[in-house]
Every structure is written in structure tokens, then in C-alpha cells.
């Protein structure tokens, strides 16, 4: 009798826990609702990876300057082709995003803006700033 009542109490508690309010879900990326914070964080990493490749490209561009005119004009031609233009536009957007979000990270490092409200506010601010600056820069560049 005791065991049965304990078990029914357990069932009752379990149904109460699972159905009365939503339980926290572990962050499996396939089912977890994307949140601004997580999306911006992974975008920071992705743009950082892309900008690392762009840094290698920038160093290569400087090296072609030293190597001579024919190599430099070839580099410029490939940069002004379709793929090059797309890469430069992506790089500009990535640069402005990484810069803005990096400044947000520096603010956090100095201890500012840690509460949830400010994290979301600065996050949307970063999104707006980087998209605006990216659009302006791409329009000037092209």
C-alpha cells in the first residue's frame, strides 16, 4: 500500500512538473528556439573566421604590391570580378559586424551592460549599426 501510494504520488508530481509549466529544455541546436544572444555569438565567431581568411588575403594583396605591377593588376582584376565583389561585400559586412560586436564584448570586459535587458538592447544596436555601416560601405565601394 505504501509503495503504491508513493508511486502514485510520484506520478502526480511528475505530471504536475511536466504539464503545469514548461520545463527548461537542453540547448539542442535543432530544436532550440534561436535567441538573439546565441545567434550573435555564433555570428561573431563565423565573421571572425571569415575575416581571418580576409586577413590572409589582405597580406597577400600587400605582397603582390611588392612583387610588381603585372601581379598586382592580376590581383585587382580577380578582386573586381563577380566572385571578388561578393567576397569584398561579405568582408565589409563581416568587418563592421565583428567591430561592433567586439566593442560590445570590450564593454562587457569592463563590466558594463551585463543585465539581460542591456544585453538585448546592445545586441539589436549592434545589428542595426553593422547593417547600416555595411550597406553604406558597400554602396561606396561598388
Amino acid at each position: 500500500m505504501g509503495a503504491v501510494s508513493t508511486f502514485s504520488l510520484y506520478l502526480l508530481l511528475e505530471t504536475k512538473m511536466t504539464h503545469s509549466r514548461p520545463r527548461p529544455i537542453s540547448p539542442h541546436l535543432q530544436i532550440y528556439r534561436p535567441q538573439l544572444t546565441a545567434v550573435l555569438s555564433s555570428l561573431h565567431r563565423l565573421s571572425g573566421l571569415f575575416l581571418s581568411a580576409a586577413a590572409v588575403g589582405l597580406a597577400g594583396w600587400v605582397i603582390t604590391l611588392a612583387l610588381g605591377e603585372s601581379i598586382f593588376t592580376f590581383a585587382q582584376q580577380s578582386l573586381s570580378s563577380g566572385y571578388g565583389t561578393v567576397l569584398i561585400a561579405l568582408g565589409l559586412f563581416g568587418f563592421f559586424y565583428h567591430l561592433a560586436n567586439g566593442l560590445r564584448h570590450l564593454c562587457w570586459d569592463w563590466g558594463y551592460g551585463y543585465d539581460i535587458k542591456n544585453v538585448y538592447r546592445s545586441g539589436w544596436f549592434v545589428v542595426a549599426c553593422s547593417i547600416a555601416a555595411g550597406i553604406v560601405a558597400v554602396m561606396i565601394a561598388l
Binding site: L49, S52, A59, V62, I63, A66, S80, L106
Partner: protein, 139 residues
């Protein structure tokens, strides 16, 4: 396990050591870390602070460049300030990207390969850095 200990003494970057170094005094840690995490953190922030103004400066210079013919770009890079700023930008950029790539590799790749990849990226990055600084000096 033994092999792991040997590797621990020989390798120059490890997340565990970094965590230990961040939270405890160095004397308390048994294995001396060759690269304390605090230094990694400081270099990353320092290079970020250098990169923010210099990166913006470079983007503005590129947007303001009248054309990208060889003589124009060469004369742009030949001026003292521009070549100096370009060198600073490249150094900070490569340092920052190597530190960031190290974090990414440590997060997603398991250890024997992880260590080799970090070494390889450092080697390649420093080679690229040396080559580009040399070509700035040569112009």
C-alpha cells in the same frame, strides 16, 4: 595516460591549464603552464583595441582611394604614415586572428590534431606576417 602526461609537459597550449591559471595562483598549479590563459586574454583584448581604429582607418582609406591602378596604390603605401599604420594593422590583425583561430580549434577539435593545427596556423600566420611586413619595407 602516461603518453598524455608526456604530452601535457611538452605542449604549449591547453585549455585546462588556462582555466587553472585563470582561477588560481601560479604557485598552486603543479604543472607550469607555458602559455597562461590570462596572457591570451590580454593579448586578444589588446590587439582588438589596436585593431578597432586601425581597421576603420584602413576601410576609410580604401573607400577614399580614387582608383586602384598600380602607381596610385604604390604612392599611397609609400608615404611614411601609411606604411607604418599598415604594418601596425597587419601585426595586430594576424595576432588577433591567430588567437581567435586557436580558440576555435580548441573548441571543436580533439587533442593530437588540435595541437598540430594550432602550431600549423601559428607557423603559417607568422610566415605571412613576415612576408607582408618585408614587402611593406621593400616598397
Amino acid at each position: 595516460m602516461v603518453r598524455r602526461c608526456v604530452l601535457y609537459r611538452r605542449r604549449d597550449c591547453c585549455r585546462d591549464d588556462r582555466a587553472l591559471d585563470d582561477y588560481s595562483d601560479r604557485d598552486l598549479v603543479n604543472v607550469p603552464s607555458r602559455e597562461p590563459g590570462l596572457q591570451h586574454w590580454r593579448w586578444q583584448r589588446g590587439s582588438a583595441i589596436v585593431l578597432a581604429p586601425f581597421g576603420l582607418w584602413f576601410i576609410f582609406q580604401m573607400l577614399l582611394m580614387p582608383d586602384f591602378e598600380y602607381p596610385t596604390v604604390i604612392s599611397w603605401l609609400a608615404s611614411t604614415f601609411n606604411s607604418f599604420a599598415m604594418a601596425v594593422l597587419l601585426i595586430a590583425l594576424l595576432v588577433h586572428s591567430l588567437l581567435g583561430l586557436q580558440i576555435v580549434i580548441e573548441d571543436y577539435i580533439a587533442n593530437p590534431l588540435q595541437r598540430n593545427l594550432i602550431r600549423m596556423t601559428r607557423f603559417i600566420g607568422i610566415a605571412i606576417l613576415v612576408a607582408s611586413i618585408t614587402s611593406i619595407l621593400a616598397i
